[in-house]
Symmetry: C2
Subunit: 346 residues, 2 copies
């Protein structure tokens, strides 16, 4: 099916016995045009449902009002919240959003950057594919189009970056455990190469330091692939210690849920004997019993903020100050770390 019934300025002009220029100006509310003409034109345009042709307009202005967004995976709940923030903020500003997935593939990411450019987007919001090594193609693209990194970022790219304040979040999670009286706090983190894991670990250390707690290497566990199964395994390691921890901070909810499962299985009281904190505020964190204390990452806020900074770069001609914006998180206290006086709801 070919697009049909397309009304152009020419048609409107002819119908009203005016020139194309006048109709164009009338529709754009140009001061030169008389009110009478404006009214006549807009009445007719509404009647025939005239819609300006974006291509003709974008063609002249070199502007599409479309933002390209590349994320590793769209069907990850946190990603959806990021996108929701981006889309909402974009629409407020008259932009639409094209979304693509790199599926955590660096090669695919490179291609997408290129096709985004071909589709004439005015700017790009990028959340990096895991293990992105070579950022040359990103630097190259930045010569053509404004680009902002968000969520999954890299210090190798000199651009504005919008991220979670992971260190602060971890700090507050651990501080909360300390406030509830815990002193031997274990951490389950990732082995290597993970920017996020590193930041959360720093927050953990910072909290221990602030409260003069001993750093016990036995309580610092790392895993290659942080998931529920690994959480279970490492919890087993921790409860086998002669000197057990009294709290476990898992840097993901999945691992935290694994920890709870192991503790439950071993009839260890949560949080009295061992408290547990996760990170992410996944839906699952409210399904497990006891419910998991966790960090809520305001995805909407990150997406929204990233878009705001991108628009700023798109619209300002002056030199840009690239900055790293860290969005604060919310600690959500639940029964895995704090027993309320009221009877717990199921």
């Amino acid at each position: 099916m070919v697009k049909k019934n397309i009304i152009t300025l020419k048609i409107v002009a002819k119908a009203l016995g005016l020139s194309i220029s006048t109709v164009s100006r009338a529709l754009n509310n140009h001061p030169d045009i008389s009110n009478q003409t404006k009214e006549k034109v807009s009445a007719f345009a509404n009647k025939v449902n005239y819609v300006p042709n974006v291509f003709a307009r974008g063609f002249r202005a070199h502007k599409s009002n479309i933002i390209g967004v590349i994320v590793p995976n769209i069907d990850h709940h946190f990603t959806s919240t990021l996108l929701k923030g981006v889309i909402r903020e974009a629409e407020i500003n008259g932009y639409k959003v094209i979304i693509s997935e790199s599926v955590n593939n660096e090669q695919k990411q490179t291609e997408l950057l290129q096709t985004m450019n071909q589709f004439g987007v005015d700017g790009i919001l990028l959340s990096l594919a895991k293990n992105t090594k070579n950022v040359d193609h990103i630097l190259k693209m930045m010569n053509h189009i404004p680009l902002v990194l968000f969520d999954k970022v890299s210090t190798k790219v000199p651009c504005t970056q919008v991220i979670i304040d992971d260190e602060d979040a971890a700090f507050r999670a651990v501080e909360h455990l300390i406030n509830t009286g815990k002193r031997r706090i274990a951490i389950i983190k990732e082995t290597v190469n993970s920017f996020i894991s590193e930041k959360r670990y720093l927050g953990y250390l910072k909290a221990l330091k602030k409260y003069d707690l001993e750093i016990d290497e036995n309580l610092i566990l790392s895993t290659e692939d942080i998931c529920m199964e690994e959480g279970k395994k490492l919890a087993n390691v921790l409860i086998s210690l002669k000197n057990r921890p009294d709290a476990i901070f898992a840097i993901t909810d999945e691992a935290g849920i694994g920890v709870i499962k192991t503790l439950n299985k071993n009839k260890i009281k949560i949080p009295d004997e061992i408290a547990v904190v996760g990170f992410c505020n996944s839906v699952n964190s409210t399904i497990i019993k006891p419910k998991l204390t966790t960090i809520d990452q305001p995805g909407n806020k990150i997406g929204e903020t990233a878009l705001k900074y991108l628009l700023r770069e798109i619209n300002n001609e002056d030199e840009i100050n690239h900055k790293t914006v860290e969005i604060k998180t919310n600690l959500i206290v639940r029964n895995s770390s704090f027993k309320s006086l009221k009877k717990n709801k199921v």
Copy 2:
């Protein structure tokens, strides 16, 4: 920041001492052009990183290669899977996807349809906002642009529609319960106005009928707002019956999980005394104990299929046969309805 370093055909032509026409044809692999010229042109184009201007191209062709997608809510896991399918299939065909949310607001949906049109999309994929009453604006848009409904659809719109085969799914869920020996099967459904609930209920009835089971009105429960809390409540109603059911089919996982919670609380053995089946294959369905038997809806497949039909309408000039495509689901048997011989994993 203005887009910069834009290389045009004109620049390439001048640099090579050729005409714009020749360069254009060489780049588009036109048979008239000699191989020698083609090579020379493409080598240079690569070198200077020439990217054809989409607007100029789309402008002539009345074609953007962009598909507009409107969904009620992007941060709903099932929606993400739909979108994943759409995006993947779109990219295979050289299309990009603009995504917007109606946030289940009919007014917003109307506006979005209009802005999608303004952005020059080649076609629209629409999943209806809840309680969409007036479809006039949709019918009107269909005069201009091909449109396919998916997931949340309406018989009031004469277009191709891609949906889950809900009736078949429910039928198979109930048949599975019957096969495990259950005879008094309850259903928890929605009160009114829900297309989906109705279809699932029909499947339920069909299965009972096929196996000559009595339809007991006491076992057919409805609720306005189907959620976990309601699942809990209605399960309480069911276990209070003198003649209890031996299985409960909840038409959503949330309700199914509520049912399990109530049964667990009352120390009713699942599935021996009462089996439970949900619908959706949400992540939560694997977190609850016992794990919930449920229906997996292949969101990717629906999204992919919807896009395929839309492209067909975009590309074919001939008359379209609007049809309703029903995608088959998968029954996922877990411990809430079937006890395997092997020891259940945690």
